[in-house]
């Protein structure tokens, strides 16, 4: 059985992940797929290598599902994040949100990706034309209420 959250080195099979969410009684499924982009901050990106603190990253994804469930109790969700080497165009993260109505499916999946970028201990090592760099985004703090509210504002905009 496909778990609702996973950190995996395997390629993400989007269709299989969508099928893994129980859609009984729902009327909408929103699927977000994060892809490895061929450019970043003006650099030509060649490939990425993702690293995770796996046990905490998995907990982080579980926490995001709990937070989403609190706000959107009827939404059923799945988040799988891939780590390791990925080439341009490959899927790094898949979020599936199934809901009775579309608004909540869109909002919950947007909330989840914003929270991933805030609190899940995963890092991108970017190999670009001319060098490599660790990408550094947010200081992770799941207790930071302001960050959580910001994610919620973006999700519900």
């Amino acid at each position: 059985m496909t778990p609702p959250t996973a950190i995996t080195t395997a390629a993400l099979d989007v269709a299989a992940l969508v099928r893994a969410v129980d859609v009984t009684g729902t009327g909408a499924v929103s699927t977000f797929i994060g892809l490895v982009r061929d450019n970043n901050l003006g650099r030509r990106v060649l490939h990425l290598e993702y690293e995770a603190y796996e046990p905490l990253a998995r907990r982080g994804l579980d926490l995001i599902l709990e937070e989403a469930r609190e706000h959107w109790p009827a939404v059923r969700m799945l988040i799988h994040h891939r780590i390791g080497r990925m080439d341009i165009g490959e899927a790094s993260v898949v979020i599936v949100a199934a809901s009775p109505h579309r608004a909540d499916a869109f909002a919950a999946s947007r909330y989840a990706i914003e929270r991933i970028k805030q609190i899940v201990p995963i890092w991108k090592h970017e190999y670009f034309d001319g060098g490599d760099v660790w990408v550094e985004g947010a200081t992770a703090d799941p207790d930071n209420a302001e960050a959580r509210e910001k994610a919620m504002r973006i999700a519900c905009a």
């Binding site: 603190y53 970028k117 609190i119 550094e136």
Partner: protein, 81 residues
């Protein structure tokens, strides 16, 4: 007492290892473990204000006490997604 330190991404590159065993005085907190790392790897000090920490794979605080055998992780700003 001894703790296992886990370092990730750029912090791992600076220290040259993702896992280190460190001695710490009894009653030491996470901040003291970090300070001892910075003493050995001064480049880490640039991360003083931006890192998060975890004890035994649970987010923690620099003021939290550590115990013998704990796994203490230091996390630079995250960039998943």
């Amino acid at each position: 007492m001894r703790v296992t330190v886990r370092l990730f991404a750029r912090l791992r590159d600076i220290a040259g290892a993702g896992e280190l065993t460190r001695d710490a005085p009894s009653g030491a907190n996470v901040g003291a473990v970090w300070a001892s790392l910075v003493a050995d790897y001064p480049e880490l000090s640039a991360y003083e204000k931006s890192i998060s920490c975890a004890v035994n794979a649970d987010y923690s605080r620099f003021t939290a006490a550590v115990r013998d055998g704990d796994e203490v992780a230091f996390l630079p700003p995250v960039s998943g997604g």
